[in-house]
Symmetry: C2
Subunit: 418 residues, 2 copies
C-alpha cells in the first residue's frame, strides 16, 4: 500500500493548522461579540434534501459525494452550510426570531481539482433569519470590517443591491426575462474586464444601446455619494428606488465600504444588498454574501424567512495570511531537564498552571540535541533546570532570539514569560 | 420531502453547541499548555488505507461508510483519528521527534444506533510519538487531571500496565496463547462484575486454580502502595517487573491516580501503561488511552514509533456536563434601541470593541417583545438606549436576574459588564 491522501483533500500539519485556528478563533470571537450563536449540523445529509428543488441546483449536485448506509438509505456529504441551515430552521418551527447563528465547518465537492479548489474545504458562515431590517446587513458588514482589522489584512469591502441591478436593467431597456442572465454576465466584470462582458451581453441579445446605458450607470466615482448621484441621473423615475434607499441606509450605519453598482454575485437567490471583500493579490472575493429573503421559504415550501448572511473563505484567507504568520509550534518555552526529570516536570507544571504553553524534554536527549529541537520548532525560550542551579532555587532562562541567558527564580521566569 | 436528519447523526443547536465548544476549548487550551500542537487530517480517506492490515480491523470495517469519487477511486469516511495519524507520520519521514500532536474532529461508524452511540461523533485525541519515556505518559495523565479540574468534574483516573497483566497471566499459569483473550475478559470486570468474568474465563479454558490466582493478584487495596505490595507477593520472581517499575515511575510523577491491576482496555495493541477515567453515573470510561509502541511501525511496515496517547470522549463528557451548564446564547447584553437605531448601533459597537458579547434589536420590535426575547435566551443584561437618556449622555442598564436598573454612562456600563 502506498501511503497517500484521497484526491483533492489535504493534511494540515501544525505550521498550517495553527494559522487556520487563529483565523477561525478570530471569526468566532467576532461573531460572538455581535451576539451570533454557534450551530453544528452533520456532514452527512439525506440525499433527497441535498437534491431537492431550491437547494444547491444541478451543477452542485454533479459534484456531490453520494453513498448509502447499511439500511440502503441514500446519503450525501453536504456541499454547503446553507441547505442544512434551512433544514434546521424548518425542523425547529418554534425557534425565536431573529435567529442569529454562525457555523464553521467542512464541506465537500467532488469536482475537478484546480489551483485553490479542493474536494474538502471549510466554510465560515454567519447568517440572520427573521429580520428584514438593514441593521442586520449592517452588522454583517461591521463584523467583516472588524475581522480583517483584527487579522491585520487590508481589504476593500464592496456593496451593491440586487434591486439596483434590476433597476439598471429596467432603465437600460433590457427585457425582464433577460435580467438574471445579464446580471450573471456583470458578475464577471472584475475578473474578465469590460470588453469580455460587453461581448457576452451582446451574445445574450442585449442591444448596443442598452449595453451603453448599463455601463453609464455602473460607473464608480470618487465617493459613494457621487456614485449614487450618477446612478440617480440615469435611473428612470422611481425605478430602483427601494434598492437605493437600502444602500443609503446601510451607508449611514457603516463607513469604510465602497458602493459598486456593478457588483452582482453569481448566485440567483439574492434579493437585496450583496457584499464582496477583496484583498491585494487575489482576484476572487475572499468573503462574500448578501440578502436572500425568499430562499429559505421557497426551500421549505412554506413560511416567510427573510435572511441575510456572509461567508468567509477560510482557504483564501489562509493563503493570504500564510506568508506572514507561519509558526511550527504553539510552545512558548521548552524545559530542558539536566538530570532533574522530577523537578523539571514540577516546574513545567507551575508554568502551565500560569497558562504558559510549556514543552519539556520527555525523551532524555542531550543538551545540544534539545537546543536543536527547540530551534527547529521556533520555540522562543528555553528553561534549563540543572541540579546546581536548583540548589540555589534558580533556573536558567534563555531567549533564543538574542541568545541572552538569565539565572532567575521560577517565579521571575513566569513573570517574564507571561 | 419530509425534513429530517440522516439516521444516527445530530444537529447541535446553540444551547448544546455552546457546551461542546466550552469542553473543546478547555481540551485545546490544556493540550497546548503541555506543548501539544494541532493537526488536521481529512474526513475522507482512501479505502485501502482504512482497510489495511493493522488498521482498525474487520469489525470496524463493517461499519465504515464506503463510496467512490468521480474517478471511481474507493474512499471511506474515517472511523478514528489514529489510522490517519499513523498515515501522516508515515508520509512525513523527516518529522522531528518526539511529535506531540492533538486532533479534535468528527469520525464515522455506520453501526447500529443505541443509547449514546451515533454514526457521527467527535474524538479528541492527544498523542506523543517518539518517546519511550514514562514522562510522556505522565504528561498525558497530568493533562487529564487538569482538564477535569477545569471542567469542574470529579473523576477517578485509573492506571495499569499491559506488562503487569501479562505477568499476572504468566504467574497464574495461564498458557501464553490465551493471555490476550483472557485480558479481553478482564476488561469487562467493571461492567459485568466478578462472577460473569469468572464464568467467561472458565469458558475460555482457564483453570479454577489460575482464576483464583488472577483474582488474588488484581485486588485493589486502600493505597497504591499496598496494591503494589499485594501484587508483588503473588507475582512469580522477575515476572511483570518492567511493568511494575513503569507504574512506580509514573506514580512518582503523578499523584491522584489509582493503580488498578484489573484494568485491561479492550484493544489488543496496547504495550505498556493503560489509563481509564470514570465519573459518577456513567458506567463506561469517559476518557481512555495507553501506550502502543508497536502499532504505528507495524501499520507502516517499517521503523520504530513508540507512542502513547489518550482520547477524550466528547459525547459522554457533554452528557455529564449538560445538566449543569445549558446556555441558550453567548450574549452578555442585549441593546434595545428606543427610536435610536443609529446611536444604539454605535453604542453596541463600543461594547463589542471592549470584547463584550452584545446583541441588538435588529428587527424593530416593541420594548416588551424585546424583553421577552432577551428573557427567552437567558441573556443576563439589557441596555435601553432612549432619546431622553441619550440627551443626558446616559443609558439604562438592567440586570435581568435582580430586575435592578441603573442610569449610567456607556463607559460605566462597559466597566460593569466586563
Amino acid at each position: 500500500m502506498k501511503l497517500m491522501n484521497a484526491k483533492g483533500v489535504r493534511d494540515f500539519p501544525p505550521e498550517e493548522k495553527i494559522i487556520r485556528q487563529e483565523i477561525v478563533d478570530t471569526l468566532r470571537e467576532t461573531f460572538e461579540e455581535y451576539g451570533f450563536n454557534p450551530l453544528e449540523t452533520p456532514v452527512i445529509e439525506r440525499y433527497d434534501l441535498l437534491s431537492s428543488k431550491y437547494a444547491g441546483g444541478d451543477e452542485i449536485l454533479k459534484e456531490t459525494f453520494k453513498f448509502k448506509d447499511q439500511g440502503k438509505r441514500e446519503l450525501g456529504l453536504r456541499y454547503d452550510l446553507t441547505v442544512p441551515f434551512a433544514r434546521f430552521v424548518g425542523m425547529n418551527p418554534n425557534m425565536k426570531m431573529p435567529f442569529k447563528r454562525y457555523q464553521i465547518g467542512r464541506v465537500y465537492r467532488d469536482g475537478p481539482i484546480k489551483l485553490g479548489r479542493y474536494r474538502e474545504f471549510w466554510q465560515c458562515d454567519v447568517d440572520v433569519v427573521g429580520s428584514k431590517n438593514m441593521m442586520a446587513d449592517a452588522e454583517l458588514l461591521l463584523i467583516t470590517s472588524d475581522v480583517f482589522k483584527k487579522l491585520g489584512l487590508k481589504v476593500v469591502i464592496k456593496i451593491n443591491n440586487r434591486k439596483i441591478l434590476d433597476g439598471i436593467m429596467e432603465s437600460a431597456g433590457v427585457s425582464k426575462s433577460k435580467w438574471n442572465n445579464a446580471i450573471l454576465s456583470m458578475d464577471k466584470l472584475e475578473k474578465q474586464g469590460k470588453n469580455e462582458v460587453m461581448k457576452e451581453l451582446k451574445q445574450k441579445g442585449i442591444s448596443n444601446d442598452s449595453i451603453a446605458k448599463i455601463f453609464g450607470m455602473i460607473q464608480k466615482k470618487k465617493t459613494n455619494k457621487k456614485t449614487i448621484s450618477n446612478l440617480k441621473l440615469f435611473l428612470k423615475k422611481g425605478i430602483g428606488k427601494e434598492g437605493l434607499e437600502e444602500i443609503e441606509e446601510l451607508l449611514k450605519y457603516v463607513k469604510n465600504v465602497e458602493f459598486d453598482p456593478s457588483l452582482a454575485r453569481g448566485l440567483a437567490y439574492y434579493t437585496g444588498p450583496v457584499y464582496e471583500v477583496f484583498t491585494k493579490g487575489i482576484g476572487s472575493a475572499i468573503t462574500a454574501g448578501g440578502r436572500y429573503d425568499n430562499m429559505i421559504g421557497e426551500f421549505l415550501g412554506k413560511g416567510k424567512y427573510p435572511a441575510t448572511g456572509i461567508s468567509f473563505g477560510l482557504e483564501l484567507i489562509t493563503d493570504v495570511m500564510k506568508s506572514s504568520a507561519k509558526k511550527k509550534s504553539v510552545t512558548k518555552v521548552y524545559v530542558i531537564p539536566i538530570k532533574t526529570p522530577n523537578e523539571s516536570l514540577k516546574i513545567a507544571q507551575e508554568l502551565r498552571k500560569a497558562g504558559i504553553k510549556t514543552d519539556l524534554d520527555i525523551v532524555g536527549k542531550g543538551i545540544s540535541k534539545n537546543l536543536d529541537f527547540a530551534n527547529s520548532q521556533g520555540i522562543p525560550y528555553i528553561l534549563f533546570v540543572g541540579q546546581k542551579e536548583l540548589a540555589k532555587k534558580k533556573v536558567k532562562l534563555r531567549d533564543m532570539k538574542s541568545g541572552k541567558e538569565r539565572l532567575i527564580s521560577v517565579k521571575e521566569a513566569i513573570k517574564k514569560l507571561k
